[in-house]
């Protein structure tokens, strides 16, 4: 799966140097600090990281859903289907939202309007983007509910969000996102709030729906298990920046960035006989308190003097891989540190 060898078609989505700033009582913070990635047509990119790394905000920038006191910094470029989202007028932007690119949010209980029925909220998307009549839109909504695997959709469509289970609410959200056949799905932790069994069902549903329509997907998650199931490529975020990007198999086989390695090691795996879970020492710093130079340095087992004085650039490693780490230039230090650990 070498994405860079063939002459690439225009990516569906292309983020370049996207920055989000927030004005707080303590000054200006930049929770998303220079993020760039592409998503090709029909491809699923997983954006992975712990809470506070900026992945959800990054997802919101695509449809320009960042509200005051935050804003997308002027230098950011977001190209969707060849057009720069940042320069679009209100009407053009609204034409894309929900129709060509649709979002699925994490908490369906709060992401759905409590006073309208499930069917009405799906029908709203239809009526916003087409001239469909009330009944036409309603029928479409019911059909969509059936398509996402909800039994007795005619009855469920009339029910309100609080009358549905968590899994069903999320299916409603997925139905809302799919009903206009978008070419890009942006799923922000779609299964985090649900049981593991439902998680698997919904991920399958998403994948099937996506493949059937030839759509692309940006999947935001903190769960590496989900990544392994659903994505073709992965980008790992830490403290507002992308620290590693790779095709999924390559990432799991040989993670390059120490943070990714830490995440992998921390994953509980069946079949191992370890007694204690490994953790990454320290905690994720909040956006106002990011260290200068390499932001992972104070938690990194390989760090040396250069890491605290010089910020590492995002190195291209070939084969569609990148890593934001000085170890790329000084690989000897990697084995030295590993050797030291082995002897300890």
């Amino acid at each position: 799966m070498t994405a860079s060898s063939a002459a690439p078609a225009e990516p569906l989505l292309s983020l370049r140097d996207v920055r989000v700033t927030f004005r707080t009582a303590d000054g200006l913070i930049t929770p998303v600090d220079g993020v760039s990635f592409d998503i090709a047509r029909g491809e699923t990119l997983a954006l992975v990281g712990e809470s506070g790394c900026g992945k959800s905000l990054t997802a919101l920038t695509i449809l320009r859903l960042i509200d005051a006191p935050g804003r997308i910094a002027p230098g950011s470029r977001i190209l969707f289907d060849g057009r720069d989202v940042m320069t679009l007028g209100d009407r053009d932007l609204r034409a894309i939202r929900g129709r060509q690119a649709a979002m699925i949010f994490q908490e369906p209980m709060t992401a759905l309007n409590p006073v309208y029925s499930a069917g009405a909220q799906i029908a709203e998307v239809v009526r916003t983007h087409t001239g469909a009549s009330r009944s036409e839109a309603w029928n479409k909504a019911v059909a969509m509910l059936g398509a996402v695997g909800i039994p007795s959709p005619e009855i469920r469509a009339k029910q309100y969000p609080h009358q549905l289970s968590g899994g069903m609410r999320q299916r409603v959200m997925i139905a809302m996102a799919l009903v206009m056949n978008p070419s890009l799905l942006i799923a922000d932790e779609p299964t985090t709030a649900l049981d593991v069994t439902i998680q698997a069902q919904l991920l399958d549903l998403l994948r099937d729906a996506q493949q059937a329509r030839g759509a692309s997907m940006l999947l935001i998650t903190h769960d590496l298990g989900v990544v392994a199931e659903s994505a073709q490529r992965v980008a790992v975020m830490y403290a507002g920046q992308i620290v590693e990007e790779a095709p999924v198999v390559a990432l799991f086989a040989a993670p390059q960035h120490p943070y990714t390695q830490g995440l992998m090691a921390a994953m509980p795996r069946a079949g191992t006989r370890r007694e204690r879970l490994t953790t990454i020492p320290g905690t994720v710093p909040p956006p106002g308190a990011w260290p200068a130079a390499c932001r992972f340095a104070d938690r990194c087992t390989f760090a040396w003097s250069r890491c605290t004085t010089e910020a590492p650039p995002l190195h291209q490693l070939g084969d569609g891989r990148t890593s934001r780490c000085h170890l790329v230039e000084e690989p000897a230090r990697r084995s030295a540190a590993q050797g030291a650990r082995a002897m300890a």
């Binding site: 609204r94 709060t110 006073v115 916003t128 609080h162």
Partner: protein, 330 residues
């Protein structure tokens, strides 16, 4: 339907408590309508006693209470000494005036208040928002009787646009046309209604603004925007519509204040409603009438808040289901 019955039952209990409390309070009062009013040497104690029996004021408090409850169940609130008619009739005459005044004031205030609050939320933190905010702050901070006085001074004495008091002009010729009568009534209504409107619109506007600003931050608003819905429709369907419930609830909760506030306004403008009736009943130590007024006030409030609750249940489907949940878990 079950919710309605439950509400009414609760309301009944509340009215019963209020009635009992009022009864006890008034009975414990020193003073006696037959001591002062009939302070005539020719009236012997025996005759006073006869009057007392006739008006049901003899016997122990317990007996009086039992007798009174019996009458109450039949809709008989007793006899008003000061007005020489059944209490129910006195109240029935005054009630429509109060309902008219409060009804119009409520309707106007809520409409205006919701519009202003919505406007403020839509223009959050801009000049319009701040300007209206200042006006509602001042309007809601004025004492009701004082505002009534100020408006009376301005409207009736200085501008001479409105009459000084009452509900209608007693000197209007009997043959006056419908239009003249209507105009006269409106002129008399204007100042009292204006007073109440200023007083009620202010908290409604502030509450609506707060509720809307809160709803505008809701996650479902972001979802709607992400669906491509226009900002106007998002505001209407997803913010304003979900903020209606709390505002209506506020209306229900504000009823006691409204009924109370009307007392002062009616007094200043000599409006012949329940408030004025209650005030004069108290001055005359007319027990039955006082108790009758308090009960009537409580009943009004209970009916009003029941209506408000039912409205909320229609506006917010979660509330309707909460009722069912409460009953299950109670």
């Amino acid at each position: 339907m079950r919710a309605l019955i439950q509400r009414l039952w609760q309301g009944l209990v509340v009215v019963a408590i209020v009635a009992t409390a009022a009864f006890v309070l008034v009975r414990l009062a020193p003073g006696d309508p037959f001591a002062a009013a009939l302070d005539n040497a020719r009236l012997t104690p025996a005759m006073r006693e006869q009057w007392r029996i006739a008006y049901g004021l003899d016997g122990s408090i317990a007996t009086q209470y039992a007798r009174w409850i019996g009458a109450l169940v039949h809709g008989d609130l007793g006899w008003s000494v000061s007005m020489s008619q059944p209490v129910t009739r006195a109240i029935a005459q005054a009630l429509p005036y109060s309902l008219l005044l409060m009804g119009i004031a409520l309707l106007l205030s809520f409409t205006l208040g919701m519009l202003l609050g919505a406007l403020q939320a839509a223009r959050h933190d801009r000049a319009t928002d701040r300007g209206i905010g200042v006006v509602t702050l001042i309007g809601g901070s004025m004492p009701d009787f004082w505002l009534a006085l100020v408006l009376l001074l301005g409207g009736a004495y200085w501008l001479r646009l409105f009459p000084v008091g009452g509900a209608s002009d007693p000197l209007l010729p009997l043959a006056a046309t419908g239009a003249t009568v209507l105009l006269d009534r409106l002129r008399h209504l204007a100042l009292p209604v204006l007073t109440l409107v200023i007083l009620i619109t202010s908290p409604v506007a502030r509450y609506q603004r707060a509720a809307l600003l809160d709803r505008l931050r809701a996650e479902w608003v972001r979802t709607a925007t992400a669906k491509g819905v226009s900002s106007g429709a998002v505001f209407r369907r997803h913010a304003w519509r979900t903020a209606l419930g709390p505002v209506v609830t506020l209306g229900g909760l504000a009823l006691p204040a409204l009924v109370g506030g009307a007392v002062f306004v009616e007094r200043v403008f000599a409006w012949p409603g329940m408030g004025r009736l209650a005030a004069s009943a108290i001055a005359a130590r007319d027990y039955h009438l006082v108790v009758g007024c308090v009960i009537a006030g409580a009943v009004l409030v209970v009916i009003g808040s029941t209506v408000a609750d039912l409205l909320v249940m229609r506006l917010d489907p979660r509330a309707a289901d909460d009722e069912a949940n409460d009953r299950q878990h109670a």
